[in-house]
């Protein structure tokens, strides 16, 4: 695929807001490689730059310095139009506020990326129906977003995000607006996607969401302060945690 084998490759990434005294480095000289099929969680207090990092990686914002490569292709230098095309095909976004189009039904929301990418309406509808079925939302296809629960809305949003089979799925606080049950639904969906080989970057401040990732990066003031591998730590010590071993 490319020299590093990473789907996402970030080098010396910087994003500054403001000028002079008011200069803020939201992201400060960050390097990162995300290999294919990895689930990466980025944690940190609010304002640490984790969302900005996500936006930079998805081409929603442009870096002040540094480079972002997606599948070996540099994206920070692309034109707005080329970036838009890239987002259509290669990036899926999931947001804390779901950001479904309120006037469109669940199915129509999921159809949207396919239509934007130039699919025929029939193909788009078929794909949307299949995704909703897979996510257990077949009976909600014709509902408008306000008729759905938060968890259902976020599941629709995830279906929409992966409708064009993106190289990488970027989720910004995907469970931030959800209760415990709905959070579990979303996490189950993520682990399903992960099993299917989807590359996934999740920005969160919820330790429980972060802990399910293969790898966890902690961010403070725009820089990485920790990088922990979590995957493969199934040690069978669960019993120990409730003192059964004693």
């Amino acid at each position: 695929m490319n020299e590093s084998g990473g789907v996402l490759r970030v080098r010396g990434l910087c994003k500054e807001h403001g000028e002079g005294q008011g200069l803020v480095r939201a992201v400060d000289e960050v390097d990162l490689d995300v290999p294919a099929a990895q689930t990466l969680a980025v944690m940190g207090p609010s304002g640490c730059g984790k969302s900005t990092l996500l936006h930079l990686m998805g081409g929603l914002e442009r870096p002040t310095r540094g480079e972002v490569r997606l599948d070996g292709r540099r994206i920070d230098t692309l034109s707005e139009r080329a970036l838009a095309r890239l987002r259509r095909r290669s990036v899926g976004f999931v947001f804390q506020a779901f950001h479904l189009v309120e006037e469109l039904s669940a199915a129509e929301n999921v159809e949207l990326p396919a239509l934007l990418a130039g699919c025929s309406p029939r193909a788009a509808r078929r794909r949307a129906a299949a995704l909703l079925e897979r996510f257990g939302l077949a009976d909600r296809a014709r509902h408008l977003p306000w008729q759905l629960s938060g968890g259902q809305r976020q599941r629709v949003a995830i279906a929409r995000a992966i409708a064009n089979e993106p190289l990488v799925l970027l989720a910004d606080e995907p469970t931030g607006n959800l209760g415990t049950g709905a959070t579990l639904d979303v996490l189950r969906l993520f682990s399903e996607l992960r099993a299917a080989g989807q590359t996934l970057v999740i920005v969160t401040h919820d330790e429980r969401v972060a802990s399910t990732a293969d790898r966890l990066i902690s961010m403070r003031d725009g820089t990485f302060v920790d990088d922990t591998r979590l995957a493969g730590s199934n040690t069978g010590r669960l019993g120990g945690m409730i003192g059964l071993g004693d």
Partner: protein, 597 residues
Amino acid sequence: MGRVLLVLRLVAADVRRHPAQAAMLLVSITTATAMLSLGVALHGATEKLYQNTREATAGPDVVAYSPDTRRTTITALQSLRQAPGVLAHSGPYRQYYTTLTAHGATGAAVVQVADPAPGPVDRPLLTSGGWVRPGGVVVERGFATALDVRVGDHVTVAGRPLPVTGIAVTAARAVYPWAPGIGPHGGPSDGGGLVWAAERDTRALRSPDVPVTSFINLKLRDPGTARAFTTRDPAIAPAFEHTWVNVRAWQDVARQDSVMLRDSQPILVIGSWLIAFLAIGGLATLAVGRATAQTRRVGLLKAVGATPGLIAAVLLAEYVTLALLADALGLVAARLIEPAIVNPSASLLTTATGPAGGTVAVTTVVALAVAGLTTLGPTVRALRTETVAALADGARQPRHRAHLTRISALLPTSLLLGTRLIARRPGRAFLHACTTAATMTTVTGLIVIHAQTATGYPGSPMANDLRDAQQHHVILAVTAAMIVLAAVNTLTAAWTTAEEARRTMAVARALGATPGQVTAGLSAAQVLPTLPGALAGVPLGLLVCLLFSGPDTTWPPAWSLLAAALTVLPVTAALTAIPARIAARRPVAPTLSAEAP
């Protein structure tokens, strides 16, 4: 006191935060009140001006014209001095039907032989220069304006160049180009301007080729009876047994004067209706567009303990203040424009009085009604919303328009976005179509009026120009005002749509729509409803013209109307592209990071 201060502070803060919206409100209401005030002022405007002029120039109550200079004719005219009811007279005088050349342009004229000092009746008021002297003429002001002649210029009368010593107005004659009173040999008049000259300078005109008319100006004891002063009166009849005479009362002159404005008045009246409609349409869009923010604001005020009365005061005070300001601006504008519209020939004295109380009342009521009607709904709705709901989210539950959405799936991306935006707010699309239709109605009127062939004053091209110009200026002004308002409305609608659809458009961008596609989509949402609107406006315009036109109306070719209707599309696209582009260029990350759904 503190409460008033609070209201004022909130209003001032809101205007400061949304200067464009305040400006838009101001422009809309100002245009509407100005146009309305003009329409109202036009009623009887000319009669008033004529009265002023009559008083200032000792205008005659009756003028008797006879088409020759024979002894018997003069005697007959002189006999009228003793007619019952006659208080004073001046004349008889002569007038020659000739031409006058100034700055290379030649126009029909009547040259009146003037005394070195005018008699007691009809004392023309000099608005500049001095009275007639041998070797110098005075030109009537309307004529002088049409010829662009000033004191000191030279005009050629009877083959002799003479300096203009003065410019004057008179109430004895109708406004230019109806100065001659009666035509040569008592026939119909071809129109023309009036020039006063000393007897010596008119001698060259004494020729059988130059028609001449004698006339006398009379003042009656009771000006109201002027119309009864005819040769049918047995006291007058015997003197005219062998002489033809045409007696004109001052009322006839006044009526002739108003003919000049006859065609303009419907344009202004209908124009002011349409403009008021446009203003309401634009303001309604604005008010609805602000409703969400307004609802949240109301929720905040409620949460801190403001009473409904105070909140209503805050919401309405802004609109009422702006409406009153706009009303004042509109009246001032109308005052400045009025002289040009009601006194196109400059033949009458204009007065410096302000607008009548009635006009002020009408425009103020309309301005307040426009502001009130468009804001009351959203205000009441905002007041009724539960505090918590208002704070949480001002948006209403959207309705699903599956049909439009299904169709739009077949369209290219930008049209897809556009139609889905229309589906979001079908009411606004309809309003926009109506606005376009109203504008197109006026534009059609403009085209029809311009298609008319000039009707005739042979020998007075400047007179024809003047009358056509009057009508053309008025329709042009109305059309221009409409187009400005329509443009402002379109910008408002585009901006409001862009603001409302901000999140949706940000989502579309995140899903891979290019800024170009988003711009085109926002534009399309405005342009699509424009087409049916423009196409509907053409027959509407023709219908209105049909109501006011005679049988000899020349209808413009269909292609010109169609072309005008289709021009609206690129114009709208260009206009909406500005706010749409600004909206599409905005970074989407902050919108998407916002937590509220």
